[in-house]
Amino acid sequence: MPNEIWVTAEQQGGKVKKIAFELLSAGIDFSKKTGQEVAALLLGSGLEEAAKSLTPFADKIYLLDDPSFTPYTSDAYLMSIASLLKEHQPSLLLGGATSTGKDLFPRLAMHLQTGYVPDCTGLSMGEDQKLTARRPLFGGKVFAEIAFSEARPQMATVRNNTFLVNENPNRSAKIIPVSPRIDPFSVRKKVTGFERAAGAKLDITEADIVVAAGRGIKAPENFKIMEDLADAINASVGTTRATVDEGWRDLKDQIGKSGKNISAKLYMAFGVSGAIHHVLGIGTCKTVVAVDTDPNALIFNYADYGIVGDLFQIVPALTDELKRVLSSE
């Protein structure tokens, strides 16, 4: 039976993403059942710090440190990863449900003729190394538990905040440098530019806390109070389609069926009515707070805590109160 579990440790600018530590922590849990080793797959360039941060979380790090891996293209990544996978034949390959994961994993699975389940919100492992993946369907109206055929590796991408990061992983990975395996003729895509998003906040899919305002905020400049609230608790600012269509906010911050699914630990919605298209994007958030002037707003049906009130009064007061309690710690 295959003796390794693999996690692609996605990094950005040399910093490994949180989801990678979550997945390695899950891998360590699985390995206690299956007796396998846990390996991180790290691709990019200038990865010394990244590798160091992963060392406690794995038994092995396959390190592909080469300029041809920055920026990401599926062409370069696919060839190198596929060739390594064929050589080592792990039973499992996990990655984050990120823009890179969603670009790479389906194609890689087709290339390897193996099974892949996207955007999971739960994974469980049997002693027989068989994975069961759990994911929402129809925007979370239904969940499915999905099993894999005999083909290996079993592949899955997983949403942020699905697993706790192990505080004491206690491993000490051996770093195994691997040279890139790229046929330059088959690298067809070329990244020619990058526009960095304004502000330094995490993407709403990656933040632990997301605060959002909908049309109830009335004007684009009023989002300032949301930014202030977000800054106080290290959150990112999301929104509804209504404000995106008005041109008040960027599409990348839209939560819901035609935007992004978020899995935050805390989601707070202000002046968001709770249309089905919107709430389908928050189904896997842990705690939901809703504030709306309309006591009958649908959003209250999807919330843990609700306040009927004016966001222009509540948001600044909430920011101050949070600052007060956090600074007194």
Partner: protein
């Protein structure tokens, strides 16, 4: 596959390129409307309210194809793999697509996304396409597998989740923007290629009533499994790489706790609850 590469693109004049035009295929799927009620009937069975629409991102893909056709000439074909519903094809025709193809066969029942992708690729492989467009993900499964899967089967490059698209017909190259977590990435990609389309790329046109009526009568070409050179073992439940073992209702949130105190006590209470009860701050 695709048009033959011209040895020296500069030899082409503008009028040549107009004659050349673009062969564009758009993959479309009819899915339950986000408002449809969906319930778990048994471990392996769902009850889906009969309320369907053309997957939102697929309409964006059709619109992108039509815009290119309007600019460069050529043809837009909409293609679906569905044993029952052809509404997505009619929607595509009513928007302005030229041809519609339905792949259908009882053998497809129980297929997973990989079989769907292989089948669509089997149909496309000997077609003269320049560009294949799909939705970022179908609005039912939200899987996002079929697009990149088809591209892999055809051996052409793909870019997932594009929000801008420009084509240089003579240079046989596309310039696209892809959304990533911390910004937007701009890429060039040789044609033929496959792109999955994301909101922001365009606003799909609303078809005129006349065109909707015409689309109802439009001819739809039907293709079955055998004519694609595939057998029953290549698709359906025999070819599954992933298999649903059990459907579950979504985990239920406890009923909402309304904080009914006056301002500003309600804010203080909320913070207290978030810290002491929910433990999220």
């Amino acid at each position: 596959m695709g048009l033959p590469l011209t040895p020296d693109a500069s030899l082409l004049t503008a009028s040549d390129s107009l004659e050349v035009g673009m062969e564009i295929y758009v993959l479309v799927k009819q899915v339950p409307d986000p408002e449809a009620i969906i319930k778990v009937k048994s471990d392996l069975e769902l009850e889906i309210e009969n309320k369907y629409f053309t997957s939102f991102f697929d309409e964006i893909a059709v619109e992108a194809g039509l815009k290119l056709k309007e600019k460069f000439g050529g043809k837009v074909t909409v293609l679906t793999l569905d044993n029952r519903r052809v509404d997505a094809l009619r929607r595509g025709i009513s928007m302005g697509a030229d041809e519609a193809v339905q792949i259908a066969d009882p053998a497809f029942e129980g297929s997973d996304q990989f079989a769907v992708a292989r089948t669509l690729a089997a149909y496309l492989k000997d077609k003269p396409f320049d560009l294949i467009l799909t939705g970022r993900q179908a609005m039912d499964d939200d899987a996002g597998i079929v697009g990149p899967g088809v591209a892999e089967c055809l051996g052409i490059p793909h870019v997932h989740s594009i929000i801008s698209l420009e084509v240089d017909v003579q240079g046989r190259e596309a310039k696209v923007t892809r959304e990533v977590e911390n910004g937007k990435e701009i890429l060039t990609c040789p044609l033929p290629a496959l792109f999955t389309c994301q909101k922001g790329l365009n606003s799909p046109r609303i078809p005129q009533v006349m065109n909707v009526m015409k689309a109802m009568k439009a001819q739809i070409k039907k293709v079955d499994l055998a004519s694609l050179g595939l057998g029953p073992a290549d698709v359906g439940s025999q070819a599954l790489r992933v298999k649903v073992q059990k459907y579950l209702p979504p985990p239920k949130r406890p009923p909402v706790k309304m904080i009914k105190e006056d301002f500003p006590e309600n804010v203080k209470t909320l913070v207290k609850l978030l810290r002491e009860e929910a433990k999220v701050i």
